[in-house]
């Protein structure tokens, strides 16, 4: 996907996680410049390794003031914002009976409102550029029900709703908003969420017979962010090896 993001300034949240780190590297390979954000500063070494094309900002997606700082940093260092990849999320196992409302609210605060905060923060910058692309990373938990994933799953369904509504509302601004629905990916967050089942069991459920490598998900986000997807908005792109066919 060489050159797919040439000249684009990309913000990726959750950039210290397994998925975010790989996405960061592929975005730069695709020609983009990059602002990596995470509340965990573990991704800063990736930004340093990438060099001039990347910047790491310590940032919690639930902190609206910090969002303004992220956009200001992108504008100051790279001249604007073209792409936002809402990748940060929390996952965990919960049951209906054992779910305190505060815990469900926490899932929404990070996985849904965190994405909304980002969209609100980048919108003026994208309007200045005359266009933009937002990619929200959900999960096949936004398509299907799984016992024990009520909190994570409900928040990811909501992220799907946010995506479609944002696509509709922001179309006049030439801002495209799309959703990626990854299935089982070989990253720590998903491994932990699927822990009771185990990787072998999960792979056996997937028609393609394996779990995904994180770069396979990152490539989808890059396509949706690129001009190759210039007529794609409000769309969902499933990457689950056929699990939810």
């Amino acid at each position: 996907m060489n050159g797919a993001l040439s000249g684009k300034v990309v913000i990726v949240t959750g950039a210290s996680g397994g998925q975010g780190r790989i996405a960061a590297q592929l975005i730069v390979e695709a020609g983009g410049t990059l602002v990596m954000t995470d509340r965990d500063t573990g991704g800063a070494d990736i930004a340093t390794m990438i060099g001039e094309s990347a910047l790491f900002v310590e940032h919690d997606v639930t902190d609206r003031v910090a969002w303004d700082r992220v956009v200001a940093a992108a504008t100051e260092r790279f001249g604007g914002v073209d792409v936002l990849i809402n990748n940060a999320a929390i996952a965990g196992r919960d049951t209906i009976e054992g779910m305190p409302p505060e815990r469900l609210a926490r899932y929404f605060e990070v996985n849904v409102i965190g994405a909304l905060n980002g969209i609100q923060a980048v919108l003026p910058a994208m309007r200045t550029r005359g266009a933009g692309a937002i990619v929200n990373i959900a999960s096949i938990s936004a398509l299907r029900a799984t016992p024990g994933l009520v909190g994570y799953g409900t928040s990811k369904w909501a992220l799907g709703g946010l995506t479609r509504n944002a696509a509709a509302e922001l179309a006049p601004d030439q801002v495209r908003v799309n959703l990626v629905l990854p299935g089982a990916v070989d990253v720590p967050m998903i491994r932990d969420a699927a822990a009771p089942a185990g990787k072998q069991y999960v792979a056996a459920q997937v028609p393609l017979g394996r779990v995904a490598e994180p770069h396979e998900i990152a490539r989808i986000a890059i396509f949706l962010a690129s001009d190759a997807a210039s007529y794609v908005t409000g769309a969902e792109l499933r990457a689950d090896g056929g699990w939810c066919v």
């Binding site: 479609r164 179309a171 028609p207 997807a229 210039s230 769309a235």
Partner: protein, 155 residues
């Protein structure tokens, strides 16, 4: 545009033949050849009309729904041979539920080519880009109906 009461069996048969039977026959012959290579990727072509209902194009939409169904079923069946099967669902008309899609001149490509013919070529290029992406880059995506429709099916 044909009201269902005026739909001739010939028109119905032609739409089903090319879209459903054609796609079915193509996969029937592609899949054994791909199995012999140890894997492959198929991208069928449906339409946004294969995802949402369409008045006055009932047979066309029915045929495109069939293409989506054939794609998803085939994807399940041949995943074990490392063959992915997806379908692209383009649309040129804007959204149905009030939000108008204004991707008037969405890309530099179009800015450079403002004539109607060039805009049509740009639109085809956008569909072609999606086909290429599904075949080459979307290595964990199968059985997926991917809209390239400016948001038409999302409203």
């Amino acid at each position: 545009m044909t009201p269902i009461g005026a739909l001739s069996i010939d028109e119905y048969a032609a739409l089903m033949d090319v879209n459903a039977r054609g796609t079915s026959l193509a996969m029937k012959h592609e899949i054994p050849a791909m199995r012999a290579r140890g894997g492959g990727a198929i991208c069928n072509c449906a339409s946004a009309a294969g995802l949402i209902p369409s008045a006055l194009q009932v047979a066309y939409a029915g045929a495109k729904f069939a293409v989506v169904g054939l794609t998803r079923g085939a994807a399940l069946e041949v995943a074990k041979y490392n063959i992915r099967v997806n379908v692209v669902c383009p649309a040129r008309r804007p959204a149905r539920c009030g939000w108008t899609l204004p991707l008037r001149i969405p890309t530099a490509r179009r800015l450079r080519s403002p004539s109607t013919r060039s805009a049509e070529l740009a639109r085809r290029r956008e569909v072609a880009d999606a086909v290429l992406f599904l075949c080459r880059d979307a290595t964990f995506t199968t059985g997926h109906a991917f809209p390239v429709d400016g948001g038409r099916t999302a409203g």
